[in-house]
Symmetry: C2
Subunit: 394 residues, 2 copies
């Protein structure tokens, strides 16, 4: 992959032995100039120290750097956790010559163990001094935990006649569920975007991408999406009134959806990507509820893994999702094969079994009760998921 | 096991090749006299034909027989499903000489395939004629699907100076979740119990037993608990005002809890029983929400399977359960080992890892926010669960 990095963004990575030796585990993202900054965070009541710190900072809407470590979530670490995160911020700020109010922080990894500051502390100076020595690809690799591949999406476009770039990295793997479970994502652009507009655009994009994916139904303590816009492309800042706003929103939507899809593809032990589309609902909330019930059903996920066109488990999940349902009106498809028509078996199981061998499965449920729909991404549930998670820490 | 059957209850079982050949799959329970009858049913919006039929009948509060088949759920089978269930009821009623309004029905197994009436129809006469030929143990075995052992609990006690018996059978295995997912349970007693009292006692018992267990978070279309009290013991009928009511309630509580525990022990692929107790909550609803979040977490369940004292996943699940939470007040135990004290690691992971090798794990979470508590039973999540459910139908 050829990296196209937005103007003025520089990177550095280092090994502090937070993860197993031999893998980089602390990364730094710096913008040459102060940038507008927006963020969305986990809604879990248990929030890691870095999340709590970022949530306070993000009110300012400005930032210049993000320091991030993998291997340790710095969650459930009490006052020491906050102190450690603050120390990381201060050290990086001092070494990089940036005001510490402009330095953000994120962590991912094991919960409940204090950060190994004796190993992180000594490398932070080098991390800041060597800024520019790493590619965005190395940042993507550094933030990985049980991810099997780095996740980068990049896009060039023109806004107001000016060329600019948007690049984004993210990590996912386990504990991914509604509202962005252990998922870190950093989006950088050299376009100028007004503060409030940046925040709105990001929230809109996250709503239909990271907030519509689920791997195991678990929502983490550390989810963080941060977006920086440093304006170095030289366009007139995008505002809520710009003619270019829809184009910019579409680009961010596309990037976050592509990243969400990569996260699900790389779900722990996953062999198949599953897209659950529930349509024909009275409202979007109903559709979303039903789609999540199907996408979170272990029985549906294991059936897809086993190439079993077991649509009974799908209608059953819709049934317990809590939305009103007329069973006799429901249609269900696996890809283009309609297996249920008017609530009854359509006798196309053989064809359905054949399409289930594909790597991307689209489950469509039409309830014929209205016009609203919602789409949720998930993956199948396999023995490998169990092995990874039974042995993650030990 | 020596069976102690309440007076006047007779059984019969037969093989109709609904399941794989060589296993009985239709059973009949008959009381010699009309009995008081109570029932609770799935809250899934998709209800199997037999459930819809029983829900109508149960209003009468009386019954005399239950016909039940395994191997096919008769769910999502439309009008044909209702017709088939009615035919089973009518045939059994005619052959047994019982009014068909007094015959109840239950089914469990695959969803979406019509009952093989061509194989069931011919055996219903024999089923009714041979009543008394089977033991309660054979009934328990006949209703099994992926269960690995039959589930029977029986108890003798004295009410109002009169000896009586309560016997119960049930089946469970997969798709067990709040509100009694694919779970059939039949409770029989020769005590006399007033109609409304029977219904109240059953609802109370189910609330803290079958409605507090979860295997995979999936709630089935077929859950049915039916209870018959035929009065042949000769006691004065138990009413809401009886001095004996608490004793009777306690007995039914004990029986349903024991059955619920057996269901979870036999969860698909389970190697360990997990009891999740959340206490110190403002109210029982909060406690129940948090306990279910922990019990339904795939990450918690795989950690227990892997003997990993990964309490971070537990506090994380409590965090996303939606209840208010002061992380710094939370204590967490595995059995008697307190691994978290005041929201922080208590450095007893080694001891915790040792207790996790036991077959029964009690996870206790104390939030120190009030006096309410709730207990939910579940099991670990293993590769075997995946294998069973990926290959169930194919």
């Amino acid at each position: 992959m050829k990296y196209i990095t937005p103007k003025g963004f520089l990177f550095s990575t280092v090994e502090a032995a937070v993860k197993k030796p031999g893998r980089k585990d602390v990364a730094l993202i710096v913008s040459a100039v102060e940038a507008e900054m927006a963020g969305t965070f986990t809604t879990n009541a248990v929030k890691a120290a870095p999340v709590r710190i970022c949530m306070k900072k993000i009110g300012s809407g400005t930032g210049q750097a993000i320091v991030v470590n993998s291997g340790n979530a710095n969650a459930c670490t009490g006052r020491q956790g906050t102190k450690d995160a603050q120390e990381m911020i201060s050290s990086v700020a001092a070494a990089a010559g940036i005001d510490k109010s402009l330095v953000y922080i994120a962590s991912t990894g094991v919960i409940g163990t204090p950060l190994p500051m004796e190993r992180i502390r000594p490398v932070l100076g080098d991390l800041a001094k060597n800024i520019g020595s790493a590619t965005i690809g190395e940042v993507a690799a550094t933030i990985m935990t049980t991810d099997t591949f780095p996740k980068i999406v990049q896009k060039r476009l023109k806004l107001g006649g000016v060329n600019g770039t948007i690049s984004a990295v993210c990590k996912g793997a386990g504990m991914i569920a509604p509202n962005m479970a252990t998922m870190l994502c950093f989006i950088m652009t050299d376009f100028a975007v007004a503060k409030n507009t940046l925040s709105c655009v990001l929230k809109n994009a996250v709503k239909k991408s990271f907030n519509r994916i689920t791997i195991d139904g678990d929502m983490s303590t550390n989810d963080t999406v941060l977006m920086m816009a440093n304006g170095l492309a030289g366009n007139r800042a995008v505002t809520m009134k710009s003619a270019d706003l829809p184009k910019f929103q579409a680009a961010i939507d596309e990037i976050t959806y592509a990243l969400a899809e990569l996260v699900v593809k790389d779900g722990e032990g996953a062999t198949k990507l599953i897209e659950v589309l529930v349509k024909g609902c009275r409202n979007e909330k109903d559709a979303e509820k039903a789609a999540f019930a199907v996408a979170n059903s272990s029985l549906v996920k294991t059936a897809i893994y086993g190439n079993d066109a077991n649509w009974g488990r799908i209608i059953c999940a819709v049934g317990y999702s809590g939305i009103p349902l007329k069973e006799e009106k429901a249609d269900i498809w696996f890809n283009n094969v309609r297996v249920v028509k008017g609530g009854l078996a359509n006798n196309r199981d053989k064809e359905a079994t054949a399409v289930l061998k594909e790597k991307k499965i689209r489950i469509t449920v039409d309830l014929h009760a209205g016009k609203a729909s919602a789409k949720v991404l998930t993956c199948d549930l396999t023995e490998e998921y169990i092995r990874i998670n039974a042995e993650y820490r030990t």
